[in-house]
Chain length 525, copies 2
């Protein structure tokens, strides 16, 4: 600690908001109103409880929870205990959750009662997991979380870290290899990205932010920390229900929300849709929004901030900065549908060919999007090979394919053949293929994305059955659902005689994709 | 350089705005319009020219200039040349300017033609000064700056630094010892403070920022970098002229300005004053604004952001965060006149007694304001003793005296007895006393602040004349003006028989102040 250089950490944000906005409501869920002072008090108490339960500096603490107060508090309490937060996607299967608990080396798991079936007996199945703490559901009489909190104290803890480059969280993502990878965020990266989220999503102390985006996605694109930084009000949401979202927008005076385009589509087409009377700033990412949905939301009075990023970039990394010259232009919403330029403070984004040379800025030539800067992950947890591969050439390789326009804006056109984004969730085609092939009747399988009106994309499988056996598509789909998150299972499985292959025997997935996407202008949706 | 950790520097801001907003006007002065692409090109060319002129990494490059394009460009070109910017207060005397050139070890001086008389023959009088470059005035035919630029090239230079903790600028301030001190800013501090200036002053790409605040004050409270970061438009201003400010506000659609309260008073009381039709965000500091002027500017439609800081804190360090509960309160503007709470990301501000214990938060007990965090200076240049004294106890000592309210907001009540703030400029009473005492007829002198309607405060001197000599106050005032910046000379000098003293012979300046300030509620204005 020196006079003129405090280590960067989002912990400073809750310290300040508890001090400056102590009496202000920081979190709303239903009838429950929690002030910033109470949030900081709970974070302090929980940090003590974690330490008391044996959590050591650097240990991982896992959460499995919808967007509740407790999930938000974890973003401060866990690092306040000098530990590392692992917020797990609640849509995963039991098998996947247990894998992440094991791979991250979680020492303690906090789970919302509604998700308990996913982790029954986890303490016995995961090496090193000391304890499971259950947060009671809204109508539950459970007391486990409260009792755990009661083991802590109110003694102040320093909202400070010794090293801003130490880990604050690990966020698991479906990678192209099919094995989920743990993306390590640092205190420094989280702090810096939070400030730029405030700037680009235009937050202020008056922000009333509705949690349509899961906090388990990139720590809510760092908005857990960003909205706390400015002393705005968080509005919790346990599930994405358009009617409830419309009700809350009106009842709580919501000013901001983040959501994947698929959520916006469900909002715009809901019976309760009506103009936002006091404005609404919507930051959207997770898949490219269509000009149509951008136009629809603007017609309702929303301001759209279109951003793009990955788990590996703390969520958003680019923003489609609005140019004054676009106003009145006939192709204004088409311009807004591009992924844009790097965030403030981040190194300029590039689109490169296989030799890491910039592709021409011609809006036609495709290349891979690569990133660098303080909002690129530190590494994949316990996976130096994957880290090295992702960082080859000194840049993070997104696996996303884009064109680069003359004005420097990137526009996604395709992505790594092995990732499908459905409703904002990543699906690894390889993981699904491997699961299908685990069925005794299957010889070969190939999974590709197909366009879907509601979810953007969905997986479709092409399967070759072993001779002398038989299996129905419906049975295979159920087989996948029993092993992976249900959203990862293909909606359709085509049983085929053979898969298209190269002369060396490599499956040509692009042939399958081409036949499915036909005359779509791009290969992502 | 690693994939996930770029060293923080404001250079990233101009790199990005030139890339994203290349065709947009970044700077306006009169009829002259300069795009961000042209600004980055000039910065690159100038950085090459500086290197070509023999400027080595870490060398100091001094500027003496009003708020021109060239002065703004310097904030990027000098660090791009790996050098350190010294922007000198243009209101100082020749003697003071030469002292700063010498103390900073400036190797090169860039001077606006209008200020040339201050530095005639400087190259001969300042050791190590290699060269003086003259920027032509608006109606000049001078070519020196242009010729110097022509020695540079357009080859790209990296908008990067090797060490974010290296110096980016040195800003000289009148300290309590009377000797100006060089406050060292780092790339990291400037970067971080710029982002929080964007957040607290509510800048966006649509900002049209009028340069009423001198860029030589704390690099324009880091707004040189902050407005560039978001890609807003700078509007230059060579002198603070209320009629011209009113004209520009309307003609250029100004959305933001920073100014000391004295400037706001001159604006509010000008014949051209009329409501701001599209709103105006005014960030004010430099002296405590009165509730009256806050109310007047709000009545014209302005939003007031009241901040407080010192040269040693990169300019603003606290902000009077607005609390929703104040709306409709009878003492709303009184609450807004308090200096407030620490900026986002900065360590909480404290008000302490002589033993560094917090004073009670009772709104009555006075103590010294102390600060810590990334927007506290690295050190005083070449002055380890002053640095150590300022940083005693692990906090930066502001010398300002405040009360701490129950809600955590600080309110200035007094300051170090040795500093006067007149029209936003610091005056060291000790420096003025020493200058008066250099007159052969003077035996003793004491200078104190007295309240002044327009300038906030002005110096008044009490002088004891040597027996058998005589001198008139007017002659002494001229004597001071010939040696110091004219604004530092007392308006009034009282010739007295003796000065009030303690039993040990120490002059009791507080006795003089008390008699001058009478029933003013506080001892600053």
């Amino acid at each position: 600690m020196t006079v003129s250089s405090t280590q960067l950490t989002p912990l400073l944000f809750l310290e300040r908001s508890a001090d400056v906005f102590g009496d202000k409501v920081g979190f709303i869920q239903g009838e429950q109103r929690t002030t910033y002072a109470a949030m900081a008090a709970q974070a302090t108490r929980l940090a003590h409880a974690l330490k008391g339960a044996g959590i050591e500096p650097g240990d991982r603490v896992a959460y499995l929870s919808p967007n509740t107060l407790e999930m938000l508090i974890a973003h401060f309490a866990v690092p306040l205990a000098e530990a590392v937060l692992v917020a797990i996607n609640t849509r995963l299967s039991r098998h996947e959750v247990l894998h992440i608990l094991g791979h991250s080396g979680a020492r303690l798991l906090v789970v919302d009662e509604s998700l308990l079936p996913l982790v029954v007996d986890a303490a016995n199945e995961v090496d090193g997991l000391l304890r499971v703490v259950v947060i009671p559901g809204p109508s539950s009489t459970g007391t486990d979380y409260r009792e755990f909190l009661a083991t802590g104290t109110d003694d102040p803890l320093p909202w400070r870290v010794d090293d801003e480059r130490s880990a604050i969280s690990i966020n698991y993502t479906s990678g192209t290899t099919g094995q989920p990878k743990g993306v390590v965020y640092t205190h420094r990266g989280a702090y810096l990205n939070s400030l730029t989220e405030v700037i680009h999503s235009r937050h202020s102390p008056g922000s009333v932010y509705l949690w349509t985006l899961p906090m388990f996605h990139c720590n809510g694109w760092c908005t857990t920390w960003a909205v706390t930084a400015v002393g705005g009000t968080h509005v919790g949401l346990r599930a994405v229900d358009p009617a409830e979202i419309w009700r809350l927008i009106k009842a709580e005076g919501v000013s901001h929300l983040n959501a994947a385009p698929t959520v916006l589509i469900s909002l715009a087409n809901h019976a309760d849709a009506s103009p936002f009377e006091t404005g609404l700033t919507i930051t959207t990412a997770g898949a490219p929004p269509s000009p149509t949905i951008i136009g629809q939301m603007e017609d309702l009075g929303a301001s759209i901030v279109h951003v793009y990023g990955l788990t590996e970039t703390y969520g958003p990394h680019t923003v489609c900065e609005y140019q004054p010259a676009w106003t009145g232009s006939a192709n204004r919403v088409t311009l807004l549908a591009r992924q844009g330029v790097a965030y403030i403070g981040v190194d300029p984004i590039r689109v490169v060919d296989d030799d890491m040379h910039d592709v021409p800025r011609d809006g036609v030539t495709m290349g891979e999007v690569v990133m660098r800067g303080n909002n690129v992950m530190a590494r994949y947890h316990d996976d130096p090979d994957a880290t090295e591969k992702a960082f080859r050439g000194g840049w993070f390789h997104s696996g996303d394919v884009a064109v680069w326009h003359a004005d420097g804006y990137i526009e996604l056109r395709d992505r790594s053949k092995d990732i499908i984004i459905s409703g904002g969730e990543n699906i690894s085609t390889i993981e699904v293929e491997q699961t299908i092939m685990a069925h005794p009747a299957v010889l070969e399988a190939a999974v590709v994305a197909i366009p879907h009106e509601k979810w953007g994309e969905r997986p479709k499988a092409f399967v070759v059955i072993k001779s002398d056996t038989s299996v129905e598509p419906a049975e295979l789909i159920e087989f996948v659902k029993s092993r992976l998150a249900r959203f990862k299972a293909p909606d359709t499985i085509a049983i085929v005689d053979e898969l298209p292959k190269t002369s060396t025997g490599k499956i040509q997935k692009y042939v399958l994709r081409e036949q499915e996407w036909g005359d779509h202008g791009r290969r992502i949706n």
